[in-house]
Symmetry: C2
Subunit: 411 residues, 2 copies
């Protein structure tokens, strides 16, 4: 080992995804995509680099000042690795406000960066499903998007008794603050204290000092209506929670979180709400929006807690192992033919000892291997060996696709 040898470690607080990890990541993303597209959400994307200005106006001040990755580019432009996706999607919609049709449902699965101390459920880089519904200022938009959030949870096999949707409302909070005559600064402070209610006993005391009252918030008619409409759609785990405020300054109406009931996962899985004034910051007419975000790290934690992570299965269904230099041409051609039949086939042309090739296929979790030599070329008969069980299937070349597909389907 030399002195100037490179480290195999990734940058602190970010993750490497080996095939077995990426498989889980893909399972989560594919499930997200399938459900949100069934609700008519259209995919969009933007660059992870955004002009820093985008966050100064509307994001949480804590995030901009203390938690962003910033850089000045070689042309002197101040740019940021996006800490959240909402400002980007508002920017896109404002950019084509008149060309787009409403209600407009948009989703993306961006990676986001925050500079913070890595801990369970919180890393410096995470991926997040972002769903936003533009152009509906009625409560139906909240019903629609909370229904989607619940169906997303259920699509992973999580049942309604295992999680809770907690709703409150910024308009409700504002009229509550009116009652106690809080000024703008005090309102900001109060929201921050409410947000820390469960984490920090001091925050509770401070909030009650600020209000000069106990924090006796009760739901309004809109919240009760929302809960009732969702109940009609068999969503029975929505409750009013006075401690839900959400960190971002841009929320204007209903806010909500989904939390897992399991004590191991005490962080919010989803967070969202209505933010009707963000799009107009770009100099276009106001467009009402409700949206939410849901992170991959907390999602994976929950799936692990409930034993809902599927077993790894690699792309490769069959590995053909050539046992001599003369077999290589035939093996390449056979792989091509089987792929055309729809099978996912890799080749091992290393001409090592067979036992070694089989051992390595097993390390890669390949379900089937088949050794190709002079006999197989002559007879066009293959022995398909299932590595997990040791079972062997004798198959003509022509029946191989069907034999393997049937076997794997029955698993």
């Amino acid at each position: 080992m030399s002195n100037n040898e490179l480290s195999t470690q990734p940058y602190k607080g970010v993750r490497d995804f080996y095939p077995t990890d990426e498989f889980i990541q893909r399972y989560i993303f594919d499930t997200w995509r399938e459900v949100v597209e069934s609700f008519g959400y259209e995919a969009y994307n933007a660059s992870i680099l955004e002009p820093a200005d985008l966050y100064y106006a509307k994001s949480s001040q804590e995030i901009v000042n203390e938690q962003t990755y910033q850089l000045i580019d070689r042309g002197g432009r101040e740019v940021v690795l996006r800490p959240e996706m909402t400002p980007s999607v508002a920017r896109l919609v404002a950019g084509q406000a008149r060309e787009l049709g409403y209600p407009l449902r948009l989703y993306s699965i961006p990676n986001l960066f925050r500079y913070e101390r890595p801990q369970r459920g919180r890393l410096r880089e995470h991926w997040q499903l972002n769903c936003d519904l533009f152009g509906d200022d009625t409560l139906s938009a909240e019903v629609d998007i909370i229904l989607l959030a619940v169906r997303l949870m259920e699509s992973f096999g999580i049942t309604q008794d295992q999680f809770e949707v907690k709703v409150s409302s910024r308009t409700l909070l504002e009229s509550y603050f009116d009652k106690y005559n809080l000024d703008q600064e005090e309102r900001k402070e109060a929201l921050k204290l409410i947000d820390r209610w469960h984490k920090d006993e001091a925050a509770r005391t401070q909030l009650e000092e600020l209000l000069q009252s106990s924090f006796d918030l009760e739901p309004d008619a809109q919240i009760n209506n929302l809960i009732a409409q969702l109940k009609e759609l068999n969503v029975n785990n929505v409750t009013f929670d006075r401690t839900i405020a959400r960190g971002f300054d841009y929320y204007t109406g209903i806010v909500f979180e989904i939390t897992d009931n399991h004590p191991d996962n005490n962080r919010a899985l989803f967070g969202g709400g209505r933010y009707d004034n963000l799009v107009e910051s770009f100099g276009v007419e106001s467009i009402p929006v409700v949206g939410f975000g849901m992170g991959d790290v907390t999602m994976r934690d929950v799936l692990e807690t409930y034993g809902l992570i599927p077993d790894y299965s690699p792309a490769t269904e069959l590995c053909l192992i050539a046992n001599s230099a003369e077999a290589i041409g035939f093996t390449f051609q056979l792989a091509e033919d089987l792929r055309r039949g729809g099978l996912r086939v890799s080749c091992d042309m290393t001409l090592r000892k067979l036992a070694k090739s089989i051992k390595h296929a097993s390390k890669r979790s390949v379900p089937f291997v088949s050794v190709i030599g002079a006999d197989e070329i002559k007879s066009r008969q293959l022995t398909l060996k299932h590595l997990d069980t040791g079972e062997e299937i004798n198959s003509t070349v022509e029946d191989t696709v069907e034999n393997i597909s049937d076997f794997l389907l029955e698993q």
Copy 2:
């Protein structure tokens, strides 16, 4: 419009992907995934932030010094937005060198950053399919990976007469340089000049001055063998090209590029080769590798040139439009039932004028709309309106999934 209004423009040299753009991006990525997985490539991923050290040793010096986005994090660590994926995948494989099984086929579709002047086919951020085959030091690895590159092109409907695979070899070049007694510095210079052969006449003159000879490179037996083996697999557009050198220092054997024959697209679509000494920089045993990268920007340019971009179709197949407050509950429930049948359904509950809702559905390219009111609730009969043709289908609620799916399949 206020003075401190935010810009709707993205950062310079990066792209926004509205649904119609993201649709094309997804078409390209999904096609890539399907083909590479049929060859048994397994998906991996890593963070876009990498320790800067990773690039100092082995990347092109031009890229590290002049073209990377670098930042110092709040803990003083020097990090880089990755300009290429090869060092990351080498890092990952080195990190589990003994646990992984070989031949190991890995792919990823990362975004990469280079600070350069934006121009056609070259942006500051692009996505790139990266495929690498680890653990086979024989020529079969090159055959396998070039076959994959050709099948990738063909999977988009591009035919072999429309593109060319150009191969050369670093070992061939090294023995050629031996013949002319070039020292290490002169070799580096010569590679750079060869790389610029087609762009820059001065480079040609300089190369011939350096060699004190015309650049009369001829293919060796290995290259001829590679071309012959690919011909056997019906790949007939591979030729030796003495001007192929590839920019990165880490290549050790065969190098190749795929170029489009169309004069509008004069950049390489694929570039790759063998790099057997990169993994050992991480202090593990040497692992032979062949790999390539293929970018989304040039891919999309080529698809546009040949008219191969599919028409946009949104996720939403049917938009249900409630025509009164009383119809909202039924419409939500109907949408849920149709989704369970496999249809992708969105709702418009804005209770605007119907004509406006239909116009907006049309702006979103939604194929079908159906208005839900008292009559539909009573009769459970829907009118499914196809917006493009104006055609109307009368359908029971129960037959709606089948009617729409059949219609869209026939399109």
